[in-house]
Amino acid sequence: MKLLTTLIFSLFFFVSCTKKETSIVGKWNVISPFYKATYEISNRERTFYGKALYYNDGTTQYTIADGDPGYFFTDLVTEDGKTYHKKKTSNTHKRHSPSIIIDQIHQDTLKVTSMVMHQPLTEKWVRTK
């Protein structure tokens, strides 16, 4: 009985952790009055990657159909419930954040903090299909 209980708790813990690590995977719309963007987060092994599918700030716009824009961020890892990168960000998305922290506050909502000129800018991303 003790072994069974341990197994159940271990399995529950494993499933919970696994779900949390991967749940940021998907497509996300940025909620901002200043620009529109849709990012796709994918994972490879235990790291996460972000790519812009659509971006429009009024003067610069691209869609994934215009060509692969490269990754917005790469090599994010999850620790203590937050996802952030330990390595230097890919340089392919130069006009945007050099650093990013993703905090999943709901299954379909992310609090994303990026550093702009060493100042934190926090935005909400919501899941989309």
Binding site: D57, G58, Y62
Partner: protein, 372 residues
């Protein structure tokens, strides 16, 4: 007063939703920035646009009292404005006057640069005690059904150091700026995102008529470039990375050479109720108060032209680079010190003053006693 605050926030919200989002949505095709990688690779090539062929209309398009919202680095301003009017046949000017903290301007003018008749911009001011004047040159123009796009880049470092992009669509403006601490922190990152709609075009039209604007004539000639030894050089560098001057005496195009603009010195006589309060020193097209001195929401929303604030110990403020014309002057004491116009703030009946070209006027406000 609560209704007034609600109205103000409602206006900001509606402005954000209607004037900006819709236009972005409808124009979300074919405005793809295909310019080269902005990371400098050594040699910087800047190719000014010849405005004899295209782009001269940027000056005309810039005219207007642009009201919208602004994000500066990570700070959002739900209400913001720039008042752009001609100050010569080929020079248009707008400034954010912050008050005690200083100011920030961007003007656009016809120039000769690298063998081309083109448009240059002067951006800078005196902010937080630092004088700065940076020069940009028009290097990209793209006009189609989705709007008219203009890009200006740092006149020394090119897009790898600083740039500003503007797109006009109907009566909307999208104005984005990218900076890199004068080339010390490349690649550039977004510094400002200003989205606005055009209001009060009559002000700009009056100025245009007065100075015979617009004409394709040189306002400031930079055909010989800049005096190299006057350019700012970052610590550790041997060459300047930016067309930036950090001293007034080295700036090649100071306020002293700017025509038509005037000055206004506002003196405030504080009474005990506002002795230790931050003051908003507002200039507007219409009176901000009714005949009894109570603030009017509509006027604040649509006719506020300059909105500096001064600290508790300051009793005088000098507006520089001020467009000639008649203004209403309104001082508002921020009684609860929340940084916003609010219930309980103390003001007075707005007073008028007329600014004449290249002259300084003065006004004294000594009756700030009406509590809203």
């Amino acid at each position: 007063m609560n209704n007034f605050i609600k109205l103000l926030y409602t206006f900001c919200f509606l402005l954000a939703l209607t004037s900006c989002e819709e236009n972005i949505e409808e124009s979300a095709i074919n405005i793809v920035n295909t310019d080269p990688d902005p990371t400098p690779t050594g040699t910087v090539t800047i190719n000014p646009v010849d405005i004899n062929e295209k782009g001269f209309d940027l000056l005309e398009k810039m005219q207007g009292h642009w009201i919208g919202m602004n994000r500066v680095i990570n700070i959002d301003y739900p209400w913001f404005s720039f008042d752009y009017r001609a100050i010569s046949p080929s020079h248009i000017h707008g400034i954010y006057e912050g008050g005690t903290q200083g100011n920030l301007l961007t003007s656009f003018f016809v120039s000769e640069f690298k063998g081309k008749r083109t448009i240059m911009a002067r951006n800078g001011g005196d902010l937080n005690g630092i004088y700065r004047a940076s020069y940009f040159v028009l290097d990209s123009v793209n006009q189609n059904t989705n709007g008219d796009y203009y890009r200006l880049v740092d006149a020394v470092g090119g897009i790898g150091t600083m740039s500003m992009e503007l797109r006009f669509k109907n009566d909307s403006l999208y104005f984005n700026a990218y900076t890199s601490k004068l080339g010390a922190a490349i690649p550039p990152t977004r510094h400002m995102t200003f989205k606005a709609k055009k209001f009060n075009l009559d002000l700009a039209n009056t100025a245009a008529t007065a100075v015979n604007f617009p004409q394709n004539i040189i306002e400031k000639d930079f055909s010989n470039g800049f005096v190299q030894e006057n350019l700012w050089v970052n610590t550790g560098d041997t060459q300047p990375r930016s067309a930036t001057f950090l001293e007034f005496d080295k700036d090649p195009f100071t306020i002293l050479e700017h025509p038509y603009l005037g000055y206004l010195n506002v003196k405030v006589i504080r009474n005990p109720a506002i002795t230790d309060k931050v003051l908003f020193v507002y200039l507007s097209k219409e009176s901000l108060t009714d005949a009894n001195g109570f603030l009017q929401a509509d006027a604040l929303q649509n006719s506020l032209l300059k909105f500096p604030e001064i600290i508790k110990t300051q009793n005088e403020f000098l507006f520089t680079y001020l467009h000639p014309g008649t203004y209403y002057v309104t001082i508002i004491a921020d009684v609860n010190e929340n940084g916003f116009i609010d219930t309980g703030d103390i003001t007075h009946v707005s007073q008028t003053v007329t600014i004449t070209p290249e002259q300084q006027q003065e006004i004294t406000i000594d009756n700030i006693t009406i509590q809203n």
